[in-house]
Amino acid sequence: MVMGLLGLFILACKKDKPLPEQIITFLGFVKPVNFPDPVYNFANNKPTKAGVELGRALFYEPRLSRNNTISCGSCHIQSSAFTQHGHDVSHGIDDRLGTRNSPPIMNLAWNKAFMWGGGVYDLDLQPIVPITTHEEMDEKLDNVMNKLKQLPKYTSMFKAAFGSEEINTSRFMKALSQFMLLCISSNSKYDKVMRKEGGQTFSPAEQEGYVLFKNKCASCHSEPLFTDGSFRNNGLAPSAINDLGLYTATLQETDRYKFKVPSLRNLQYTAPYMHDGRFLSLSGVLDHYRSEVQATANLDPLLQKESRRGLALSEDEKTKLLAFLSTLNDEEFIKNPLLAEQ
């Protein structure tokens, strides 16, 4: 039944006709067959064509920021798998810098918690944070909606999506969610191998890397989302600002230095890595797990087995692991024209 709701944009391209005559059928949210059931409450906000189009317009709308310079898409760039490639921490309004690396807008329908340090547990409430944060968009929600109300484009889009021209917080947030819920990355080589599509198979190095991944990484970066959605301390040395992660939102001592486990999908497009973007390459990340894991409070037990801290990984194993990780890059996702600014 739930699967019945599923659908994505299907782009049917007639080869003999020019691009503007593409026939686009909107099928709503489609769960990839190799994915689990989503956690988002679709019963309360079912993506519709008009709703997703409105959400997309809002996602790329700079009026969401105080001086109309920054949109969601500024720090979540599609070609970088909806991250801000090349920035260790997010670069927002008036050249202000945040404290954390811009996370990907990807497979959010399966997310139970948002932000590197938690605190937000409902996708419909998440955009409030970047819109109102001083270093990001530094704007007020009521101001944003007042600006949108001035534009006939939006009154007609809200009417198409929700039945009347009224612009309110709930509709605004739901439209943004509808767009973000369709930012699904599920067409990497890995997915095609798993779904046995087009006879795709792993190369020997990728296959060996996959076995290594399952032995050493999969307990936190579990398939097929490549994150278990939990918060863990992976042994990074505390940053200069001593970011305490999840603790800030829960005030539980056992949450100090815990951050959300990120997905390993699309790593080719999303450097730098970690909550503060401290590693510029995947090689640097793997070196951290090999030899730099720190015994800070609440270090994840999986990184402290017996007397060894971190993960044992030879140079050869590292190469194979990187080969497997490269099968998680999803070029269709970063080039999907329906997720792009129109």
Partner: protein
Amino acid sequence: MNQKFNIRNWALCLVLSLGLLSCSKKEEQAPGFAENNLAPLAIEFDNIVADRTFSVNNPIYTNAAGEKFSISMLQYFISNIKVSTADGKTYTVKQDSSYFLINGTDRSTRFAKVRVPEADYTKLTFTLGVDSLRSTMPIDQRKGVLDPAAGGSHEAGGMYWGWNAGYIFFKFEGNSAVISDDVNGDPTGKKQFKYHIGGFGGYSAPTINNLKTITIDLHTAGIAKVRKERFSNIHLFVDIMKVFNGKNSFSIATHPNVMFSEYSVGIATNLTEMFRHDHTEN
């Protein structure tokens, strides 16, 4: 199968008879306690500061630590209003009509106006804050004072906490010369104190819970005689000085900014001492 059916029938009969029983009971007491016989009741949250009236910016107050301060902003949520009669009947105001934002600088907000069955009430109960159920509700049920867009930014008086999804229950800001100009005080040099007290217990992981249930016995200062033709008003004094001078008294200089932290728990306890029933207008 048959047995199951029988049990279900019995249960149905029981429910039906209970319903009839309670219906007839209500009718016996007419025009008394009937949920379809609602009349207006107001609870007035009249802010004061110890022995003086409440006013922003101008007057200088002095707390128990001897610190002089002025007030620039005061806002708090009152919710889940409940009234009880001497014989133990209780009426809970409908959820959708039971959230009020009292704003110290806007006198028109000082009344929480509700509708309750006609009766004589001897006890009033309410929550200071926004209960955990409402704090975790879907966006479409956050209307009016609970709309995350309400009030604008935090500086302007917004009560929604975006980064740690929830509401500020009690927001109290002002100035005091005792505040230092460094990071332990107010680095902007404005000598501002800010107390943003919230925390409903956490979405999925447990965290601080600063929700407070306030119960007030109306016997001494006057019970509320709620009738359709009258306008009963339970007049409460809300003594803001208790923020500093309550059981967990503290000094502004030592704690000029308290928001989402363990220290807020002690202040939230002080807040329960603020409410005092002065009289009831019937």
